[in-house]
């Protein structure tokens, strides 16, 4: 008896984190419009879609107009990030390019690596051999386990998809990556970016009822009554005029 009383708070403390996790059951369809990151010379566009089901996600990534070469792609999220894509103003060191680090205040660190095989954690952020490559990429992957906090953030419109890998044809081609000094900057600099925003909630209010029937019926009834009254008053007028 005494022992169980003592153990109760401990059991509660152990259970609480799980209660918290269980209640954060995020569900939702999100979509990101991938647009060129300023300064980096990409002219492509694309679509990323993420379906959140609790702590797993299904994702589809499509982009075209990219530079040849591998394209690392991630969902970025940081609790203290702005959940945005970087603007040209993010070029803090004025080297005329937005490096992946330049964009971190806007989109946060890597939360999920959108790899085609194997691990999808931030540890695979630069696993270029497991990402797609080429000017056009299109692939989908289901059942990817993510941190529940990330799933929740994505369903709330706070995840940002970034596709990396650009082509520099000026002195920037010699710059080295801020993420891995053994790689050229063009391999890791962001090409396209888009915020995963939640689909509109529920249906659409696209009608005012004018063709639904009752308005026409009401007008017909009123008009009919008016005509009957007009016709009905004719004998009265006739009698008066004759009288």
């Amino acid at each position: 008896m005494r022992r169980s009383t003592k153990l109760a708070p401990l059991a509660l403390a152990l259970a609480l984190p799980f209660v918290g996790v269980g209640s954060a059951w995020a569900v939702g369809s999100t979509n990101a419009n991938l647009q060129p990151v300023p300064l980096n010379g990409s002219a492509g566009s694309g679509t990323a879609m993420v379906q959140v089901n609790g702590s797993t996600i299904d994702f589809t990534l499509e982009a075209s107009g990219l530079a040849d070469g591998p394209h690392a792609a991630h969902i970025h999220f940081g609790a203290d990030a702005r959940h945005e894509c970087p603007t040209a103003a993010a070029d803090a060191d004025s080297d005329n390019r937005i490096s992946t680090s330049d964009g971190v205040p806007a989109y946060g660190p890597i939360a999920v690596s959108l790899t085609q095989t194997g691990d999808t954690s931030d540890a695979s952020g630069l696993a270029v051999e497991r990402f797609a490559s080429g000017a056009s990429i299109q692939y989908m992957r289901g059942g990817v386990t993510v941190d529940p906090a990330v799933a929740e953030a994505v369903s709330q419109g706070q995840g940002v998809v970034v596709v990396h890998g650009v082509a520099y044809e000026d002195e920037r081609a010699d710059a080295m990556s801020d993420l891995d000094p053994s790689l050229p900057a063009s391999a890791t600099d962001p090409a396209l970016c888009g915020v995963l925003s939640a689909a509109p909630a529920g249906g659409a209010d696209t009608g005012a009822g004018g063709a639904a029937g009752q308005e026409g019926t009401v007008m017909l009834a009123l008009g009919g009554a008016a005509l009957i009254a007009a016709v009905g008053s004719a004998p009265l007028i006739a009698r008066r005029v004759r009288g």
Binding site: V21, G44, T115, G203, L236
Partner: protein, 232 residues
């Protein structure tokens, strides 16, 4: 006295006659408007569709399993026809009598619902989503009717699978689509994932309007009609 009463009588006759004329004219106008609205009839709508997506899975009672190492199957490569992003400018749906109708941009309202066009004669594109021709489901919404009568998407419910439609885009290109199906859903069971989510892995278009019963209490229809089409 006789003169007075005679005058009063004549004035009365004039008043009755004037009222009769007003009633007659008003009546004819009202019947005309009423007939126009009544002959338009309620908008065509397909039968209500059974939920096409399984209900949301229930959350696990206790998330006692720690995040497992990722055992997700390998990705599936896709090869859908796509067009780069470009703002849609106008919409043509021959089967609905819509020719080169200009489009407005739509976003989301503060409560998260889809913004709808203010002009009943104009459809709108959900700008945060894909552009028509881009990979994923592009969404165009239009009213079925105004308070006065039919609006731009009045005939959406009678669109048949196989019908063609096209969207002219700002870059000068035209995205051509073929209708796959037209569904009707109660708004309180709207299949968001099927309409806005990635369910077919290709470039698609969704046309959305209202349908079903009109609830004069809320001032809204109870259902939505959604036409699904894909890029060809």
């Amino acid at each position: 006295m006789v003169v007075d009463s005679d005058r009063r009588g004549r004035r009365g006759t004039l008043a009755v006659a004037a009222t009769a004329v007003v009633l007659a004219v008003g009546g004819v106008v009202a019947v005309g408007v009423g007939l126009q609205q009544a002959t338009a009839g309620p908008p065509p709508a397909p039968p209500v569709s059974a939920p096409s997506t399984p209900p949301t899975p229930a959350p696990p009672a206790v998330a006692s399993v720690a995040p497992a190492p990722d055992h997700a199957a390998a990705a599936q490569e896709l090869s859908a026809k796509t067009m780069p992003r470009s703002r849609p400018v106008s919409l043509t749906i021959p089967a609905m009598g819509i020719v080169d109708s200009s489009l407005v941009d739509l976003g989301k309202e503060a409560d998260g619902t889809l913004e709808v066009p203010t002009d009943y004669g104009q459809a709108g594109w959900f700008e945060p989503g894909p552009a028509p021709g881009q990979f994923g489901p592009a969404v165009i919404a239009g009213h079925v009717d105004s308070k006065a009568g039919p609006a731009i998407f009045y005939r959406l419910g009678e669109l048949q699978p196989g019908a063609t439609l096209s969207v002219t885009r700002e870059d000068g290109s035209t995205a051509e689509f073929v209708v796959d199906k037209v569904e009707r859903y109660p708004k309180d069971a709207f299949p968001t994932a099927a309409v806005y989510g990635d369910t077919t892995q290709r470039s698609e278009l969704r046309l959305i309007t209202c349908g079903g019963e009109f609830d004069s209490g809320t001032g809204h229809y109870v259902d939505n009609v959604v036409a699904y089409a894909h890029l060809v």
